[in-house]
Amino acid sequence: MKQDAIRDKVAVTGVGCCPFGENWTKSASDMIVDAAYEAYADAGIVDPGRQIDAVFTGSIYSMRGPHECSDALKLFGKPVTMVSNYCATGTDALRCGVMSIVAGLYDTVLVVGYDKPKDRGVAGPSVMLDRVRDLPQTPASWFAMCAATYFEKYGAGREDMAKIAVKNHHNGTLAPNSFLKREISVDDVLSARMIAWPFGLYDACAQTDGAAVAVLTRAELASPDAIRVKGVTVIAGPNPQKEPGNDFLSWKPTTWAAEQVYAQAGISDPATQIDVAQLHDCFTLTELLSYEDIGFIEKGSAKEHISDGRFELGGALPVNTDGGLKAFGHPTGATGVRMIYENVQQLRGTAGARQVAAPELALSHNIGGHPTACGIAILGRA
C-alpha cells in the first residue's frame, strides 16, 4: 500500500443528511433526494448532471441496486456503482469515491449511503431460519459474544455499557436530524427488557430509515479551506465465531483498519491527535471495545475512561457527538456517510450545541457483520 496516496488529495466539499427515523411517509428515493440536494447546495453544485462525474452508493436492504439512486437523482449517462459491506457499507462507498479521484479518473463524485429498513414490517433485524447452522443469526447475539469474556477478564459490566447509552442519548438531543431526542438514565438502561444478554433494549441502537450524501472533489479544484480526506480504508476480518484462537476480547478488523488508516493519515498517536470521533455503536459494547481496538486507550481500561467522562462532549476525546447509531439512528448503508456529515460539521465549526473545541482531525468508524468488516475514515482541516 502506498501510504500517502490518499492524504489531502480529496476534499469533502458538501454534505447532506435527511432526518433519520421511522420515515413512514418517505421512500428511499425521497430521502436520497433530500440528502443529495442539501449536499449539492453545500458544495455549490447547481448542475449535477454536468458537475458530477460518477456516483458511489451503498445500501444493504435495497433490492433495486444502483438504479434506485441514479433514478432518484436522474443522474444518467455516468457510472453508478452500489457497494455492500455490512455496516461498513457507507464508509466503503466513500472509499470507492476517494480512490476514483485519487486515481485521476474523476474530478467530482457523489457518495450516497441510504437504507429503508422500516418498510419491511419488522422492528429489528429479521429472524433468519433459512438454514440450520449458526442460529440465531442476529447482530445482537453476534456482538454480545465478546461480553462474557471481556467482563470476566476486565471486570466491566452492564453499568459501564449503560453510561455509553446515556451519553449518546444526550448527544442525540443536540443533533437536529437525530431520531431519538430524549435523555435517559443508567437505571433506564439497566431495567429495559433483554434483547441478547448483556444487551437490553437501550444497549441496542435504533434501526431507522435514512440517507446521507457527501460530495467529493479533487483537492486542487476545491476551496483552500475545504475539509480534506486524510485516509480511508475498509478491512475484512475472519468470522470471530469460527476463528481459531479468538479470545473474544477485541474485534481484529478495527485494529487492522486503524493501523492502516493511521499510516495513511500520518498519525502516530491517535489518542492525542484525534480530536473528535464517531465510533460504531450498534450496541453499547461495540463502542466500548472500539475505544480500545482503535487505539484511543489501553485494552481493558474502557471502564475507567468511561467513568472519567473522556468520551463525553466536554471530554478529552468526544465520541458520537451527534448521538451515534444509538440516538441518531442506524440506516445501515447511510451510517458511514452520516458520520462524515457530522465530522465535516465539527471540523468546520458549525456543529452548534455539539461543537467540539477547534478540532483538526476527526475519525469515523464502522464495524459490521459477525463482525467481519471494519471501515475507518479520517478527515481533517486543510
Partner: protein, 472 residues
C-alpha cells in the same frame, strides 16, 4: 448364535409432572413422565441412544441400521438413512424403517437376528425410538413417555445371545393414528387392555415358552411392554410371574415409551444382568412378540454405559404445563410453525457432512482442526488438503456465550455459544442447561437436534449440551 453386543438408551431429561396436567403446582417428587422437548423427536433420540450404544465400538463395524418407531418424522423419506448419516456410518449400509405398530421393535429385532444368522450382515444397529403425542388432558397423556433404546446385534462376542423368538399377528383396532392425525386414538379402555394388550402379551410369552420348552421360572427377568402400570401388573399376574422377576416398568418416571418401551426395560435388565441368567422381552401391538436371551460372560467386559438408570437420574421438571404445550406445538399460533419456504434442499445435500454428520476437517499441512469444511486452511492457507474428523462424539468447552431473548423457542432465552473442540470453533445453541450456570470454560458435549420446521419438514443440526459428569 446372534446376540446383543452392546446397548444404549436415551430418555429426554425433561419431565412433565402429573400434577401439572391437572392444573396443580409443579413440585418435585410426584409421578411424572419423560417428554421430548421441542428440539427432539424419534430421530434425535435414536441418534443419542445409538451414540451411547456404540461407545467403544468402531462405527465402521455396523453393516445395517434398522430403525423402529411409530413416529418417524417423515411419511415418505427414510428415517434410518438420516440417522445413519448423523451417526457417520458407512455408506455401504443396509437401512430400513420398521413402523406402524408398537411391536415394530420386535419385528426389527427378528429381522436383525435372521440377517445375522443368515450371514448376510455382520452387525446390525437396531434402534427403537418413539415420541407419541396424546390428546392434552387424556389418560394417554399421563401414561405415554418418550425415549429410545439401541442395540448392536451381531454374533461373536455377544453379551446376551438370542435363544429364540415368537410372534403372532392379529387384526384389531385398539390404538391407532390415521394418516394426518396428530394424536394417538384409543378405543374403549377395557377393550384395549383386555383384547389389545393382555391377550397380545400373554399369547406371545406363552408361545415363546412353549417353543423353547421352558417355564417362566427359568427366566430371571421379564421386560414386558405395557400401556400403564395396572395393566402391566395384571398381565404379569395372568402369566404367573413373580414380582421380583419383573423389570420395573418405571411408570411415574418414564411412561410407556411406545416402540422403545420394552427395549428400554431390556436395557435396564442388561445393566444388572449376571452371566447365565435368562431374560425375556415381550411386546404387543396388532398381535404380539416375545424374545428370549441368555446372558453371556462377555457382559462383564462391556464398559458401563448410559442406560435407563443413568437417564432416569438426569431430570429437569417442566415448570408449567403451557411450556409443554408450546414445546409440542399444541398452542395456537399466528402462522403455522413450518410456514415459509424452508431450507434449500440443495444446500442441505451439499452440506450434509457438516450439518448432519458433524464432521470438521483437519488440515494435513498444519494440523489445525476447523469447522465447517472450507477450501483454504484458516491457519496456513493450504488448499484442499484436509481429512474429515467427527465432532459428535468429542467434547468441548464454551469459549463465550450470550442469551438470545428473541429467537423462537418455547421458553426464551436461547443460550448461544461458541464452543472450542480441539482447536476448532463451532457456533452452537446450548440446551438442557440453565442460563445462570453457563460461563466461559463450561464443558459441553453434542446432541443431534431438530432446529426448526421451516418448509413444513424437520430440519436437523447439532447443539451443545452440558458434558455429563459420568461418561458412562
Amino acid at each position: 448364535m446372534p446376540g446383543i453386543l452392546s446397548f444404549g438408551a436415551y430418555v429426554p431429561p425433561t419431565r412433565l409432572g402429573f400434577a401439572l396436567m391437572s392444573g396443580g403446582a409443579p413440585g418435585d417428587g410426584g409421578p411424572e413422565r419423560a417428554v421430548a422437548w421441542s428440539d427432539e423427536d424419534s430421530v434425535t433420540m435414536a441418534v443419542a441412544a445409538a451414540i451411547n450404544c456404540l461407545r467403544g465400538f468402531e462405527r465402521a463395524s455396523v453393516d445395517a441400521l434398522f430403525f423402529a418407531s411409530t413416529t418417524q418424522p417423515f411419511a415418505e423419506k427414510q428415517a434410518a438413512a438420516l440417522i445413519a448419516k448423523a451417526l457417520d456410518l458407512r455408506r455401504d449400509l443396509r437401512t430400513s424403517d420398521f413402523a406402524g405398530t408398537l411391536r415394530a421393535g420386535s419385528d426389527a429385532l427378528s429381522a436383525a437376528c435372521d440377517a445375522v444368522a443368515a450371514g448376510s450382515v455382520g452387525n446390525v444397529l437396531l434402534i427403537a425410538s418413539d415420541c407419541r403425542l396424546a390428546p392434552p388432558g387424556s389418560a394417554l397423556e399421563r401414561n405415554f413417555g418418550d425415549g429410545a433404546a439401541a442395540f448392536l446385534i451381531g454374533a461373536p462376542g455377544a453379551i446376551a445371545s438370542i435363544e429364540g423368538s415368537y410372534a403372532f399377528s392379529e387384526e384389531i383396532v385398539d390404538l391407532w393414528r390415521a394418516a394426518g392425525d396428530t394424536f394417538v386414538h384409543s378405543w374403549e379402555e377395557r377393550f384395549v387392555v383386555q383384547q389389545g394388550y393382555s391377550a397380545g402379551i400373554c399369547e406371545a410369552v406363552k408361545g415363546l415358552l412353549t417353543r423353547l420348552d421352558a417355564d417362566a421360572s427359568d427366566f430371571a427377568k421379564f421386560a414386558i411392554a405395557a400401556p400403564d402400570a395396572r395393566s402391566h401388573k395384571a398381565a404379569a399376574h395372568a402369566l404367573g410371574l413373580s414380582e421380583a422377576s419383573l423389570v420395573a416398568p418405571c411408570f411415574g418416571q418414564l411412561g410407556s415409551a411406545g416402540v422403545a418401551f420394552a427395549p428400554l426395560l431390556l436395557v435396564s435388565a442388561l445393566e444388572a444382568a449376571q452371566p447365565g441368567e435368562r431374560l425375556l422381552l415381550a411386546n404387543y401391538g396388532d398381535g404380539g412378540a416375545a424374545h428370549a436371551f441368555v446372558v453371556n460372560d462377555h457382559i462383564q467386559k462391556l464398559a458401563p454405559r448410559r442406560g435407563l438408570a443413568w437417564h432416569l437420574a438426569k431430570r429437569r421438571a417442566v415448570p408449567r404445563y403451557e411450556h409443554y404445550l408450546r414445546a409440542r406445538e399444541l398452542t395456537a399460533r399466528e402462522f403455522p410453525e413450518g410456514a415459509g419456504p424452508g431450507l434449500s434442499a440443495t444446500v442441505h445435500f451439499r452440506e450434509r457432512e457438516d450439518e448432519i454428520s458433524f464432521l470438521a476437517q483437519r488440515c494435513k499441512a498444519c494440523g489445525a482442526l476447523q469447522f465447517p469444511a472450507q477450501r483454504i486452511c484458516e491457519s496456513c492457507f493450504a488448499k484442499d488438503a484436509f481429512s474429515r474428523v467427527r465432532l459428535s462424539d468429542k467434547s468441548g468447552a464454551v469459549v463465550s456465550y450470550t442469551l438470545d431473548y428473541f429467537f423462537p423457542t418455547p421458553v426464551p432465552p436461547t443460550i448461544v455459544s461458541v464452543v472450542e473442540v480441539e482447536g476448532a470453533r463451532v457456533h452452537l445453541q446450548l440446551v438442557d442447561a440453565q442460563p445462570d450456570e453457563i460461563h466461559p470454560g463450561f464443558p459441553v458435549e453434542f446432541s443431534f437436534r431438530r432446529i426448526h420446521s421451516k418448509g413444513g419438514r424437520p430440519n436437523y443440526y447439532w447443539k451443545a449440551v452440558p458434558r455429563a459428569r459420568e461418561r458412562g
